[in-house]
Amino acid sequence: MPAPAPDHPEPLLRLDRVTKSFGAHRAVDAVSLDLAPGEFLCLLGPSGCGKSTLLRLLAGFETPDAGTIRLGGEDLTGLPPHRRPVNMMFQSYALFPHMSVAQNLAYGLQGLGHSRSAIAERVQGLLRLVKLEGFGARRPDKLSGGQRQRVALARALAREPQLLLLDEPLGALDRALREETQGELRALQRRLGTGFVVVTHDPEEAMALADRIGVMDRGRLVQVGPARDLYERPASRFVAGLLGDVNLIAGFLESAVGAMRSVRTELGPIRAVASEALSGAELGDPVVVAVRPERMRFGAGDNALAGTLVDAAYLGDRMRRQVRMADGTVLRASASLPEEAAGPAVGDSISPGFAPEDGWILPA
């Protein structure tokens, strides 16, 4: 086992090159990851990227083909699900339909040597925790979607796990309820100090919830970091596109000017910051410059390009513009409204650009 870095405490969870294949398909490919105690991590990726399989490996429903999973320094790799100090909240909630809410909550507490009254007291505590006092006698099918979600959460917390796994915990809720529940989930996690690993395909949800986000693509963990790092300094085009809208301008690496690099493109020369992934790149290598729409500016200045405004849409909180460039590519720019008293009209020739530090050069 590699020694933990001196400035980090012993991680709660340590995955070391965990691999799992189904037939010829590598669902999880050599994933290594540390989780600090009390940390909230989101695994983000499109469906089929392996994030749910990784969660099932942590819960013990699948056994890795290679690699180790350690929790609090203890090797979990061969342990069956019912022996792991880990609990899971299922995407479908998996509430027992033939049991009342209270019986569902008590299920994980039975067989631990607690007295009947201790279990009843704990169940009441859990109902209070998720604000469902008085619902103990109900059957799950007599609850609303949001209430069921809270029962599933409370049931997964009943055994006070060191690590809680949540598979698309808010996926079945409607939009308004989801935003409210995000806040509650975050507050609950801070209060309990339990390590949370959440699987989601919704980047906004991952950014709203997590201390760190792990992006998965075709079984590999491609980048792990705080939301800001992933959004502003993505490691690849895939990560850049996954976390939000991005303009990608193709070109070739031309020269290094100070900390900036210069890229030759069809639209003219562009100066931008090179990502770490380009450390070994040579001049003339194909690259893309990634710029977020909200970083685009109009008028003379750095990286001023030439184009025609083809669409301007008022979206309430911002203005979204589309600019067709000379080579036919369309760049998107979005601006919060106060700066936009009198903007250009559709059909006008305008000059979109961006500050060099707002452009991020990635391998093509």
Partner: protein, 308 residues
């Protein structure tokens, strides 16, 4: 009354066109024969054609009807109650059916569970294997058991060869042979409904139970079995009901000593040519079977109500 949430569709004529064939079928082939049997059970045997009295004489009009109803008697039911032979046959039929149902549930539950847990690709094959015996006549399959169980049969030959027994075992014409026959013949009826329920169980429920610390045994007892209970009860009834009246298996495998209502019925009808008492036995059999079904339906409905 229509169940809530279902709307009536189509014209009244269309609805009746759909309802008429099954109603007609049930009326002609169930209700009419049942009324005839019921009537004969209140008659007295006679050396005549048909072999009972009274027979309704349509030509006498009202007087004929009156004579007919005055001729009906409860004698046969009094005989059923008085003669211990019928009581013994009733109790032994119920005991055979209950015992075989218990064994079938014990064998069928793990079978159905294993089928439901098998990989999705081989499940159709497993279902086909359970159904395949139905392609051969039931009678022939029971005859085959005679060849297996008789003293010089396949089973004894194998046991003697292996040195497990020194003398051939007497299995044929014993209650054991009847139990073997019942268990063999009715296994698909308990496996298929159970499999149907178990294969549709949400697979995340056992996983959630395991995640909450439950062992395999506890998962089965607290999650799988309660959720599969409707299939289990349906399968058990599907076996129990026909087994109470079973005739072929006790007749072929049980020998002349076996007392079961199905055999009594056959003997009274065909050997003794006593149609009235045979009809009374048939009505008794019907009551024995209908009562548990009605009780079960009632319990099911109360359970549904409680969940609502």
């Amino acid at each position: 009354m229509d169940p809530p949430g279902m709307r009536r569709v189509g014209s009244p004529l269309g609805r009746w066109l759909v309802r008429a064939p099954p109603l007609l079928w049930l009326g002609l082939f169930f209700l009419v024969p049942f009324v005839i049997t019921l009537k004969i059970s209140f008659s007295l045997p006679a050396t005549a054609q048909p072999p009972y009295r009274p027979v309704l004489d349509w030509s006498d009009g009202i007087a004929g009807w009156r004579a007919f109803f005055e001729g009906l008697e409860l004698t046969n039911y009094a005989m059923l109650a008085a003669d211990s032979l019928y009581w013994k046959a009733t109790l032994s039929s119920l005991a055979y059916a209950a015992g075989a149902t218990a064994i079938l549930v014990l064998i069928g539950t793990p079978m159905a569970l294993a089928m439901a847990r098998a990989s999705v690709r081989i499940q159709p094959l497993l279902v086909a294997l359970v159904v395949v015996p139905f392609w051969t006549s039931f009678l022939i399959r029971v005859y085959a058991w005679i060849a297996i169980l008789k003293p010089e049969g396949l089973l004894n030959a194998a046991l003697l060869k292996l040195g497990v027994v020194a003398q051939p075992l007497t299995i044929l014409d014993t209650p054991l042979a009847v139990m073997i026959g019942l268990t063999y013949a009715y296994l698909p009826f308990v496996v298929l409904p159970l499999y149907a329920v178990m294969s549709r169980l949400d697979t995340t429920l056992p996983e959630a139970a395991a995640d909450l610390g439950a062992s395999r045994a506890r998962i089965f007892r607290t999650v799988t079995l309660p959720l599969a209970m409707p299939g289990l009860v349906a399968g058990a009834l599907l076996c129990f009901i026909p087994m109470v009246g079973e005739f072929i298996i006790p007749d072929l495998l049980g020998g002349s000593e076996t007392l079961m209502l199905g055999r009594m019925l056959w003997i009274e009808f065909f050997s003794n040519r006593d149609w009235p008492i045979a009809s009374a036995v048939a009505v008794l059999l019907l009551i024995l079977i209908v009562v548990p079904v009605v009780l079960f339906r009632g319990a099911e409905e109360r359970r549904e109500e409680a969940l609502r």
